[in-house]
Amino acid sequence: MINITIDGRKLQVPEGLTILEAARENGIEIPTLCYHEALEPYAACRLCVVELEREPKSQLVASCVYPCEEGAVVHTDSEMVRRSRRTTVELLMASSAHIPLIQELAAQMGIAEPRVRLESNDCILCGLCVRACKEIVGVSAISLVNRGVDKKVKPPFEIASRDCIGCSTCVFVCPTGAIKLEDIGEPKLVHHWASDFQVVQCRICGDHYLSPEPITDYERLFAEGA
């Protein structure tokens, strides 16, 4: 067991826990966007930062990946932490201020209007869909492509994915609703990755499931030549 102090509370936690896990187990709330219990932590959103007391001065660490250390003193809601989180949320608002989840965070932190504005975008690049597709579904149909301001979630070559099985895990895990599942009437379903799937009705339970169809985009790609 490891002794750690979070927000003045002395806690004993098992070795190997991250600060976020230790805090949540003890009812201390730390906001997160890119964290999901079922997935490997990613430390991308920087919303889970906490202040770790250090000599000569404290430092901010991402609690979702930082392991609890013996004797560590952590503050989850200090002035340093609040300032950092405010900036993070304000930057997210630049392109995603219309997303309810972001609005909720902004309201909590008292930010009315961001100082910068970018083109509106539903996706906050938290990478949950990419990691769910890789770690849970195991097909890695999508990934983050390009970098910097051009970064986005797309299947390879930005055409309908050959590996997508139409499970819609990405739709389920997406916190902002950027990935959409569109019912365009029987028997077709279309989602964000532009893959078409035939919906088949189970003869026993009556429920619907998806069966992957051959994807014409790939045929087109090879017809073009490399």
Binding site: V130, K134, V139, S140, A141, I142, S143, L144, V145, N146, R147, P155, P156, F157, S161, R162, D163, L221, F222, G225, A226
Partner: protein, 166 residues
């Protein structure tokens, strides 16, 4: 190889198998660099083939290929002409040199010549501002560039091609 034409599966197999037999895992970037060196870009089916050979999901290979500026997914010319437009080169007429090169190669709005001999790109500082304005062709750096020197320099690389053709 002709960038528009057929691309040889065997050549990629060569690169992957002969170069990296003992260390396939973790060699993705080196392999992509080798392919980029040989073809001056990353052909789509090369990415697919490399992913299959290494057992890496295509989405991950594509992610890496699009992340690094050193990789290109569109065919590039045999010679890469980098015209510096950093502060020093810009002030000393880098823009006019770039225009002259583009006119000389008949580029209009394209980056690469039709015969895939040259790709012209702007760069922000090559790190030798005292030589400004600077143009780099492949690994050769040309200092204190003038518009008048452009045709001669380009010819040197065109002649290399003609010599090879003969």
């Amino acid at each position: 190889m002709n960038p528009n034409g057929t691309f040889l599966v065997n050549e990629i197999e060569d690169i992957v198998l002969n170069g990296y037999q003992n260390s396939m895992n973790g060699s993705l970037i080196s392999i992509l660099e080798d392919i980029q060196d040989r073809y001056h870009f990353l052909p789509k089916d090369a990415l697919i083939l490399v992913s299959e050979r290494l057992g890496i999901p295509l989405s991950q290979t594509y992610s890496i290929a699009t992340f690094y500026n050193a990789f290109s997914l569109v065919p590039k010319g045999k010679h890469l002409v980098s015209v510096c437009l950093g502060t020093a080169c810009h002030v000393r007429g880098g823009g006019a040199i770039l225009d002259k090169i583009r006119r000389e190669l008949d580029l209009d709005s394209r980056e690469t010549t039709e015969d895939f001999q040259f790709t012209v790109e702007e760069v922000r500082c090559l790190g030798c501002c005292s030589l400004s304005p600077v143009v780099r062709v492949d690994n050769d750096t040309y200092a204190h560039m003038t518009q008048a020197r452009v045709p001669g320099i380009l010819k040197k690389y065109q002649r290399e091609k003609e010599a090879l053709d003969e």
